[in-house]
Symmetry: C2
Subunit: 186 residues, 2 copies
DNA sequence: GTTGAAAAACCGTCCGGACGGTATAGTTAC
DNA sequence: GTAACTATACCGTCCGGACGGTTTTTCAAC
């Protein structure tokens, strides 16, 4: 379930994420996280002194991963107008394999942290703020970048709550429509 | 807090929604809902035999309200191509007063139900399915309607989790960009 | 139009269980 | 000798739900 060779702290975080993904937020208890990480409850509390500390660490790691993913996707885009918006699209619509990995992790951590205390989301709020800044400085007509960001956020929410699923064809059409929007005003 | 003259069942549902909005999902207990509804815990359990039954009722009512709101907004749009998409936009971006009322209620019920059991969301999934069908039959180029729906869903999520807030000016730009998208291919 | 009984609406208390957190005594590896 | 644990026991709290009893409403029979 969790890589037994990773160091304890990462094993705990991995186990906690996996529990939320597999069995929902209520299933994440200190005991279950410790057990799945192959550690005792006391051992977990040695590393994370409270459940809140554990959740904060999960959030911190998620924020780092999101930031890194965005930066990497951004770097992979050709320079020029709309680069940040294109990065968002690429990140939200990348191929199925390992695509949803980040989304699923984000969903799990999101929900667990928000349930305990909405203020725990602050690190990811900071990431979103930086993304918004990048979008605003993207050289696109006003509103276009934000529209694309909202659309990718919407895809995320639809996925988190399982509201509906888009067929690959629908996804392709969606992508095409958003890319056309990206070209408006050129 | 809750209209004392409404009948007990609606008072209970109102109280439960208000609790989640004001103090979060964990604060919603049978006791707190009963107290705020001006009833005893036993009395609440007379109407809703379990917490799950209470949540299911909250979801059912939300689904009705969403359906009615969409139908009303749809009817208010001029006929013709893109009508459903325009209704979505109008509903998601209507004026501040009482605008977020539905969104806030939806957020509260959403989170509470999902936390207890994701399957409870089925009624609203059905509403989303009907919206998607309306969008698909809207006469717009492929992907455009779905893009607008995703954008409004994204606005909803951003609001639910308080990820960031758009200034009125940004909202206006966003609306303009999405309306321009609506006109593509005409 | 009174009565009387059933049905509906509701009260208040109790219990079993789970969870977060504490405490402690001991163990292993460096 | 110190960091990194294990194992276990325990505490206080809270929650969902069950239960038995009580008041209020309804409504038919007389």
């Amino acid at each position: 379930m969790v890589d037994a060779h990773a160091d304890s702290r990462t094993r705990i975080l991995d186990a906690a994420e996996a529990i939320v993904q597999a069995r929902g937020v209520p299933a994440l208890t200190l005991e279950s996280a410790a057990r799945d990480a192959g550690i005792s409850k006391g051992g977990l509390l040695y590393h994370y002194a409270s459940k809140e500390a554990l959740l904060a660490a999960m959030l911190g790691r998620l924020a780092e991963v999101m930031e890194a993913d965005f930066a990497a996707t951004l770097a992979a885009q050709p320079e020029g107008r709309g680069r940040a918006a294109r990065a968002l699209l690429a990140s939200a619509l990348k191929e199925p394999v390992a695509a949803c990995v980040l989304q699923d992790r984000a969903a799990a951590v999101f929900l667990a942290a928000f349930h305990h205390d909405p203020a725990l989301l602050d690190p990811v709020r900071a990431v979103f703020a930086r993304m918004r800044a990048a979008i605003a400085a993207d050289g696109l007509p006003p509103g276009v970048g934000q529209a694309i960001m909202c659309a990718t956020d919407g895809l995320f929410m639809v996925h988190v709550f399982g509201l509906y699923t888009l067929t690959p064809a629908e996804l392709a059409d969606l992508r095409a429509a958003l890319e056309r929007l990206l070209e408006t005003g050129r």
